[in-house]
Subunit: 424 residues, 2 copies
């Protein structure tokens, strides 16, 4: 029975029953973590052969570049080729970096502030106001980068096809709007894949700011856990064809392929952007860790090697997502007090509880020993206008713990809804 | 016979003989590189056991931190302990970073521009002028960082005890002077170890700028190639005792211990600075590569393990430095047309040819197939006021190539001097 069709007495009964369940949950003294998109232990174990790979002294030089010594600003050529193949871009467009794409994104924005980007009239630090488009729900660490530089964050609602493009097209008429955060495939947290039409409209934007920049975080480009690899649009190509060759920087990493925070990352951009960035990067770095580049290249060999490896992750991830959905479908759907996405890749299930209840559900979970990503974290300024969205990250806990955590979460969703309807 | 005691005829004879020697050098068609402080092949081979170390799945967690997963902003605790022991500082003062201390230095300066440092009144990007003290000859990449941010670089002459402190004490009275680059042990390129008195005066500076910052690049802290490890002053402690606890950031890395550009790096600073930096770094990085931290910790175990390893580098480096000095002492000293330092550690021999001759010597070497660091590179703006200093980097070429390169260099020094005295 739907909660909003219940009588007050029925609601009161439900509340009392759920409260008793909740007290039982608390009594278990759980310590469960569904807060971050961290791969679980089993996933880490998939790459032990990478950790312990044997490299011959005569294998350390590839394309004439000695991986063990200084040099080659753009990274080991073979690592750049691997990323180029994965992203479908040209070798010349790829810069192989350190272990974190987040850092490469931060550094891009930092350079926009200190030096300006290729088409900037002046460094952003010299501007009175910088505004940035933030499709939301979105990735909290993107918004944190914008916030740390003092940008004004503009919330763009997500639709099932990606960011609301009517709004985006309107906002980019403002020259203070300097860019947009995008997770185009299995968006964080909704798991939405931007539609071809959305991507075409993004690539064809006519921003007033000459240095408007898409931060295209392709974090989950090969991260299907359900079904085969889904090809994606080459955004560099799309922007170039739409007359915006320098409007996008694409990012990817192996953090959720091999080792989180210890994989290899890259950015890809137009050759003109690359020439500009190389001059600036030359002051910051001699070259990133080419030995880690080498390990990854020897381990995967090519893009197919990566896709094969992702199947192993999928086999671990799918049962976890199935568990999340089984609980939500079984416990919550009949009550009609929440809705959620059903992603086929990525790391999250995006859950929308009743308006005004997300913080309460989060607090109830926490009290019962289940840590979730903070309510509101998926919105700019950590401010969810509806106080509704919660991000479920099922990858880290083992399956048996995940079951327990979902039990608790469902009880908390029910309890918060009953509280709300009863004005408790 | 000294060149300045020769008659014009004697000089002319020397010139003709040297020119003939130079033509013979050119005819060899050499391709030799003495330009960068890159370890040589033999040195890279010293760390193959690190490259190929076996790590058990149950070894990947240390101090409760899983090296293979996200987390722990400050890096693997065991890596921080290792650096703390090496630098003689407290564990809490150490942040273990990625593979490059240069990047950590750049990022410090970048954050001073975008956010300001702990005691900044405003971000440096909001200031009309930022001036930075550059002891010279010095490290070109330090000066490049200052230049890329548009600082005014102030040359501070190096003495045999470190930077000319009378000048430094004078300059820091200017509130626009925001810091100083320092390589306190085996300075690049002179190989000078700052004296205790110099360090005491540095630690006791009373700069007008509240956010004046020493960038203390302890790049060669354990890099003796001649004799035993020489202990060094704990600059964090010295600054604290002098009432300047937050005035210094110290940097170090294993780039010239294990693998250049693929080792591990750190910075160390006061706890107050660390609290401030952690907040800013939290937007840039989840954590640097903790697997590489782990490898280094398992490989070295402790500071003594590092010192033992450095003895192996020394056995390779000493004959190279001996070769450089043997040529200079034998070929150049009797003519009194140059002087040079005799370092016991570090990576360079700093050579001062006759005023006005460094660029000429560099060009002559280049024409004969011997690449040296650009003349002037060791000065701010690449401008050596005397056009005299050349940096010899003997580590990269094998010994037999180094011999040939030094033969060529000596011929070029003589030729340039004779040209100058004969006004050719």
């Amino acid at each position: 029975m739907k909660l909003n069709e219940m009588s007050r007495q029925q609601l009161e009964n439900l509340y009392q029953v759920t409260l008793a369940e909740y007290e039982k949950c608390k009594a278990q003294g759980l310590h469960l973590d569904m807060s971050r998109g961290k791969p679980g232990q089993e996933q880490l174990d998939l790459s032990m052969d990478l950790l312990n790979m044997h490299i011959d002294p005569n294998e350390t030089k590839m394309d004439g570049v000695e991986a063990r010594n200084y040099g080659e600003l753009m990274g080991l050529p073979a690592a750049r080729r691997l990323f180029a193949e994965l992203l479908g871009v040209r070798f010349e467009q790829v810069f192989a970096g350190g272990s974190a794409s987040l850092t490469l994104m931060y550094d891009l924005i930092a350079k926009a502030y200190t030096h300006g980007l290729l088409h900037s009239e002046k460094p952003w630090s010299k501007l009175d106001k910088v505004r940035f488009l933030c499709p939301a729900p979105g990735y909290d660490r993107h918004f944190t980068i914008s916030s740390t530089f003092g940008m004004e964050l503009i919330t763009i609602p997500m639709t099932d096809n990606g960011p609301d493009m009517d709004l985006v097209e309107e906002y980019v008429k403002d020259p203070a709007v300097k860019g947009m955060w995008c997770v185009p495939k299995y968006s964080n947290p909704d798991g939405i894949v931007y539609s071809d039409e959305t991507i075409a409209r993004i690539a064809s934007l006519r921003p007033a700011a000459p240095d408007f920049t898409l931060v295209w975080d392709n974090a989950y480009c090969v991260h299907e856990f359900d079904g085969d690899f889904v090809p994606f649009v080459n955004i560099l190509d799309a922007c170039e064809k739409a007359g915006n060759p320098d409007m996008v920087f694409e990012f990817a990493s192996t953090s959720k392929i091999t080792f989180p925070g210890a994989g290899i990352a890259c950015f890809a951009c137009s050759e003109a952007n690359m020439d500009y960035m190389k001059k600036l990067l030359n002051a910051q770095i001699i070259s990133y860790d080419k030995i880690n580049h080498l390990r990854h290249v020897l381990y995967f060999k090519n893009a197919q090697g990566v896709l094969d490896h992702m199947k192993k992750h999928a086999a671990i991830m799918k049962p976890k997502f199935d568990t999340v959905l089984r609980y939500l479908d079984g416990e919550i759907a009949p009550l009609d007090i929440a809705h959620w996405h059903r992603p086929r890749g990525g790391y999250f299930v995006s859950l929308f509880v009743m308006n005004g209840c997300a913080k309460r559900v989060h607090a109830l979970c926490k009290e019962a020993g289940v840590v979730m990503t903070g309510a509101g974290a998926t919105y700019p300024g950590k401010n969810d206008p509806n106080d509704s969205n919660l991000r479920i990250a099922p990858s880290f806990p083992p399956l048996d713990e995940l079951e327990k955590a979902m039990q608790v979460l469902c009880v908390c969703i029910k309890l918060a809804a009953a509280e709300k309807l009863l004005n408790k």
